[in-house]
């Protein structure tokens, strides 16, 4: 039971303010604005997970989280059915895969209607890795997720098993690295119990979300899609699982492909593109080095030289860290926020350009400082062009240095960089569907910690065979926040949740009551005779 004041009545519902929160409630008779009422849970109209629609004419670029959920059920239950473990894939189509000891799919169950739309027959006999790839690919083909649009596609994988968990985690990590389609999505991996599987089936909700939300308030469980839009939910997930991020180069491709939906001048687009291309270049270099390091690790393993093995392991770790920190780069986040959320008015664009100027400046400095031989030649051309045109604005940005954060990214050069340069030129498939109708900009709660993790300086000096030039990069904290500020006024219209019309009873009238009275008298007549007098 809650106490609240009626703020406003709409045609289909009223809005009340109660304990710092606003709720929609059903309409009833005699409601007045300002009335202080008591209402109960069942008077509330549940909102549709905070989904919102943007006005047409606004840039509607969106943030998705689609998900794939793999779930391994407890061996107890499985053993009864003769399976070693089971795996449920949830991309909204939810599919349970039952596995044998060798992680081969023996059987599958479509857990919801969406799953029935996929052709699942072929799954039987596939390895877990193949099955994961197949299911994801089918989901893409059937339009459940679109890896080319701006929305982040999420995939959760949950294991529930008394033993095999490690194996499954390894397989998932492996397939995430190798599969082309899985590279383009985020995979979240966690573990659950058989009870939670049953609970999920009952509630018709994704199992992985049940697993991570067991301590959270029940009402907050949403679809997988909406779950990952909430930064807090994401953090909650990380307490119990891991998130394998989408490959950065794909993410950048998506951003670049969708730049055109912002009405920018050519010059601005170019600046943005240059910044993105640079990040991508850096990423490719790191990935290449990682490959080499992995090879070296193999060689070291074969030779049995323990020192070499250890060194190679360290190299791999540090490279992985570098990749992570690059993926977490603030500027990418910022740009995504902008693309997702903002009606780009002139000021916002100006600020964005300012911040990118800073970024480009820093990149420039990096390149001067470091003795790179052949790294990113193509880029330098781009960057210089842009810089010339914007030089005059730069001075004004220097005042607020106190806010700046230092991102130290490793700019590693290895002999193999040449290879990557060629591939980098941004030729990506550019037909993407901009998702006109829906937009989720529901960043409800964010954790302050988010902004403090920019300084993972990674030291790759120990690397045996790879020379590392450590370069300080990106000095754009101030610009970051500026741009965001400009994005505040975006006008988002809410989806009118389809509430049913409330049935409000008519007012009392004499004759009714009399009837009521006499009707009810029959039931409990014993007690009543005695009561009434």
């Amino acid at each position: 039971m809650m106490e609240g004041i009626i703020m406003k009545m709409y045609e289909t519902h009223a809005v009340v303010l109660s304990e710092k929160k606003y709720y929609r409630i059903k309409l009833k008779n005699k409601m007045r604005q300002g009335q202080n009422i008591l209402f109960a849970e069942n008077d509330m109209i549940q909102s549709q997970g905070g989904r919102k629609k943007m006005k047409s004419g606004y840039k509607k670029i969106t943030a998705i989280a689609a998900s794939l959920l793999v779930l391994v059920t407890s061996s107890l239950m499985m053993n009864q059915k003769g399976y070693a473990s089971a795996v449920v894939v949830d991309i909204n189509p939810s599919i349970q895969l039952n596995l044998n000891d060798d992680e081969i799919v023996e059987d599958f169950i479509a857990l919801n209607d969406d799953a029935n739309r996929l052709e699942l027959e072929q799954l039987t006999g596939m390895s877990l890795a193949q099955a994961l790839e197949y299911v994801t690919q089918s989901a893409v083909d059937n339009g459940f997720i679109d890896p080319e649009d701006l929305e982040d596609d999420y995939i959760i994988i949950t294991a529930v098993s008394e033993k095999e968990k490690k194996d499954i985690e390894t397989i998932v990590k492996q397939v995430k690295k190798e599969s082309d389609v899985l590279k383009t999505v985020n995979i979240a991996y966690t573990e659950a119990s058989m009870d939670q599987v049953e609970e999920a089936k009952e509630k018709n909700e994704p199992v992985g979300l049940i697993a991570v939300s067991e301590n959270a308030d029940d009402s907050e469980i949403l679809t997988v899609k909406t779950f990952f839009e909430d930064e807090n939910a994401k953090l909650r997930f990380l307490e119990k699982g891991i998130i394998l991020k989408e490959n950065l180069d794909h993410e950048i491709d998506r951003l670049q492909n969708n730049l055109e939906s912002l009405e920018l001048t050519e010059e601005e687009t170019e600046t943005l593109n240059a910044a993105l291309a640079y990040t991508k270049e850096e990423y490719s270099a790191l990935v290449d080095q990682l490959k080499i390091a992995t090879d070296q690790y193999q060689v070291a393993l074969e030779s049995g030289d323990e020192a070499a093995i250890k060194a190679a392991q360290e190299t791999i770790e540090s490279l992985e860290d570098s990749i992570d920190s690059l993926s977490d780069d603030d500027n990418l986040e910022l740009l995504k926020d902008l693309l997702e959320d903002t009606e780009m008015d002139e000021e916002a664009i100006e600020d964005l350009i300012d911040s990118l100027d800073d970024l480009i400046d820093d990149i420039d400095v990096d390149e001067d400082d470091s003795d790179d031989e052949d790294d990113s030649d193509d880029d330098e051309d781009d960057l210089d062009d842009v810089d010339d045109s914007d030089d005059d604005e730069d001075d004004s940005d220097d005042e607020n240095d106190s806010d700046d954060k230092d991102d130290s990214d490793d700019d590693d050069d290895s002999d193999d960089d040449d290879d990557s340069d060629d591939e980098d030129d941004s030729d990506y498939d550019s037909d993407y569907d901009s998702d006109d109708d829906e937009d989720d900009s529901d960043d409800d709660e964010d954790d302050p910690e988010d902004d403090t993790d920019d300084s993972d300086a990674v030291d790759t000096d120990e690397a045996n065979a790879i020379d590392t030039d450590e370069v300080n990069a990106v000095d754009t904290g101030e610009a970051n926040t500026d741009v965001t500020e400009e994005s505040d006024t975006d006008d988002i219209e809410e989806d009118d949740s389809d509430e049913e019309e409330d049935d409000s009873d008519e007012e009392e009238d004499d004759s009714d009551e009399e009837e009521d009275d006499s009707d009810e008298e029959e039931d409990h007549s014993d007690e009543d005779d005695s009561d009434n007098d």
Partner: protein
């Protein structure tokens, strides 16, 4: 089953000692039932202050506890029956008394309290102000922070902001929050402000327009 017998046990206990603490707790835990019964019968929401119908139902509920005989069916059904009957009596009597008076006065026991009028004025003012910023109350349903601690944090930020004239001026002039400046001054993150901007704006407006009655609910 276990639950029900537990409930019956409590009722038996209360019937033995009507002044026990358990009685109060028990009634409190069934308030939603009482509320729903009243609301169903009257077809309107129960007023927080001074709603006679609610008092009648509450009384009836207590009566039901005392008169309940567990051999004759479920307590809930019985309590509902007693409450509905008492409510019917109440309405009927009222209509006899006020037969010749404007109907609105009868059904609306709490009509036109001064407080309520004042509150209504504040709400209307807030509504107008919010509309300047393109915010509807309806938007605030989805855009209010869902977690208690976030609500608390955003409130603190908003209240502090309302004390700083330059920030408020910026808000009115540009129709948006000075996020960067707020982050800097209040040592907070861009995301918490950015994610809850409508909610924050609403609280700032409540503070600077000195809407004290609404503020009590924020």
């Amino acid at each position: 089953m276990r639950l029900q017998s537990n409930r019956d046990q409590i009722i038996t206990e209360i019937q033995k000692d009507i002044h026990s603490r358990t009685f109060e707790d028990f009634v409190n835990s069934y308030q939603p039932l009482i509320l729903a019964t009243v609301s169903d019968r009257l077809g309107r929401y129960v007023n927080k202050n001074n709603d006679d119908a609610y008092s009648v139902a509450l009384e009836a509920f207590c009566e039901a506890i005392q008169k309940y005989d567990m051999s004759k069916g479920s307590f809930i059904a019985f309590a509902k029956l007693v409450m509905t009957r008492r409510l019917n009596d109440f309405i009927y009597k009222k209509q006899l008394v006020y037969e010749n008076i404007d109907e609105n006065l009868i059904v609306d026991p709490s009509m036109a309290f001064d407080d309520e009028l004042a509150l209504k004025e504040e709400i209307q003012l807030l509504d107008q102000e919010l509309q300047q910023f393109g915010i509807e109350f309806d938007d605030l349903v989805n855009e209010s922070p869902k977690h208690e601690d976030t609500r608390h944090r955003t409130k603190i930020i908003a209240v502090k902001t309302s004390d700083e004239n330059d920030l408020v001026n910026h808000l009115y002039k540009k129709k948006r929050l000075p996020v960067t400046e707020m982050c800097r001054r209040f040592m907070t993150t861009r995301k918490i402000i950015y994610g809850n901007k409508s909610y924050i704006i609403s609280i700032i407006l409540i503070c600077i327009k000195k809407l004290g009655l609404i503020k009590a609910f924020i």
